[in-house]
């Protein structure tokens, strides 16, 4: 399943400039708001669901080469964070829905945790 399908199905708002979503295929999903857990538990190329929106999420996403970060509950990164994401080629997607809702929908769509 491509990121484009996920964005369409879940009605996600892209916050960053990269839009080659049909070229990106998330390998797995991971949800946590503690960055140390993400660094230890998320898989390379995975999709990360979190309600954190601070600058460090970009560093973690770049470090782990994540396919995208879905920021839930309408949390909004500041302009510097979005600029940093663009610089690093990190895809940030936004939704007003909760993490629980998004993870449930991703699972339904066939995205698993490995």
């Amino acid at each position: 399943m491509t990121l484009q399908e996920i964005v369409d199905q879940l009605n996600l708002r892209p916050l960053t400039a990269r839009h080659d979503f049909d070229q990106v295929t998330p390998s797995s999903g991971y949800a946590s708001d503690l960055l140390s857990c993400v660094m230890a538990g998320a898989r390379r190329g995975g999709l990360w669901v979190t309600l954190q929106a601070h600058a460090n999420i970009v560093a973690v996403a770049a470090l782990l080469d994540l396919s995208a970060v879905i920021i839930t509950e309408g949390a909004m990164p500041d302009p510097e964070t979005i600029a940093k994401a663009n610089e690093e080629g990190v895809i940030l997607l936004s939704t007003d829905k909760s993490t629980f809702h998004i993870v449930g929908r991703l699972w339904e769509l066939g995205l698993k945790d490995h």
């Binding site: 140390s36 929106a53 600058a55 470090l63």
Partner: protein, 255 residues
């Protein structure tokens, strides 16, 4: 009794997120320019630049307390303040035993530089500092207190790395000396927005990652710039006190 304008939350170039201008002589000069008499150096999980800033302050009116901004297992940032370098070094040794072995990626997180009192390069810290120690908040507070230091949860009004955001409230059995709020609201607003603050003493921190972020919002009346005196000031005891420098606020309305 003497008045000390204080900024107890200052990063140096050892913190990956700090600007390259955060070197000892410039930090000391900026503090003096602002009439600040007391600072604490609080790098993320690290204290290797404390002595350099202390040396840069020799012969000036500035006192530099050794400190650290520890990131606990719960991703809560905790200011750990001490009187002596020896205490800070003991604390550092303990923290080092509880740090994950992750390499810093300077391109993503930023450089982590140990420098001397002139700001000259000494070495790079290769371990990633912007991560959690495996210590719980409770273990950290107990450890700092045991060494004779004080623990102050940092910027609790923020959404990230904040005790209130991450834990919801302040655990009642936590022996913290005070709670820090950020520059973004006044102490009165903080108490209104966060009833969890209860009767905890508040300090306001600049969380300075660049020179322009030194705030010096806290005005202490102390007999000497020591941890024991700070504790008395937090309790408003024996003529010691803590008030706020109203001019230091970004949004002084609400004072």
């Amino acid at each position: 009794m003497k008045t000390y304008r204080a900024e107890l939350h200052v990063h140096t170039v050892l913190s990956p997120c700090a600007e390259i201008e955060m070197i000892p002589p410039l930090i000391v000069q900026k503090a003096l320019d602002l009439g600040i008499e007391l600072i604490a150096i609080t790098d993320h999980n690290a204290s290797a630049n404390v002595q350099a800033v202390q040396r840069a302050a020799i012969g000036t009116t500035l006192t530099v307390l050794p400190g650290m901004e520890l990131q606990t297992r719960e991703e809560v940032h905790l200011l750990c303040l001490f009187d002596t370098l020896e205490q800070a070094e003991s604390w550092q040794a303990f923290v080092d035993e509880h740090m994950p072995r992750l390499e810093n990626n300077a391109e993503l997180f930023g450089e982590q530089l140990v420098v001397d009192e002139t700001g000259e390069f000494v070495r790079r810290e290769t371990r990633l500092l912007l991560t959690s120690a495996t210590l719980s908040l409770k273990e950290a507070v107990a450890g700092v207190t045991r060494l004779g230091g004080i623990a102050i949860p940092a910027h609790v009004d923020r959404k990230a790395f904040s005790l209130i955001a991450n834990l919801g409230w302040i655990p009642p059995d936590l022996s913290i000396a005070a709670v820090e709020i950020s520059r973004h609201l006044s102490p009165a607003e903080a108490r209104q927005r966060f009833p969890q603050l209860g009767s905890y003493p508040l300090i306001q921190g600049g969380d300075a990652h660049r020179l322009g972020e030194l705030l010096g919002a806290n005005i202490f009346r102390l007999a000497a710039p020591t941890v024991a005196e700070l504790i008395l000031a937090f309790r408003n005891e024996d003529g010691r006190s803590l008030t706020f420098h109203s001019g230091a606020l970004d949004n002084p309305e609400g004072q």
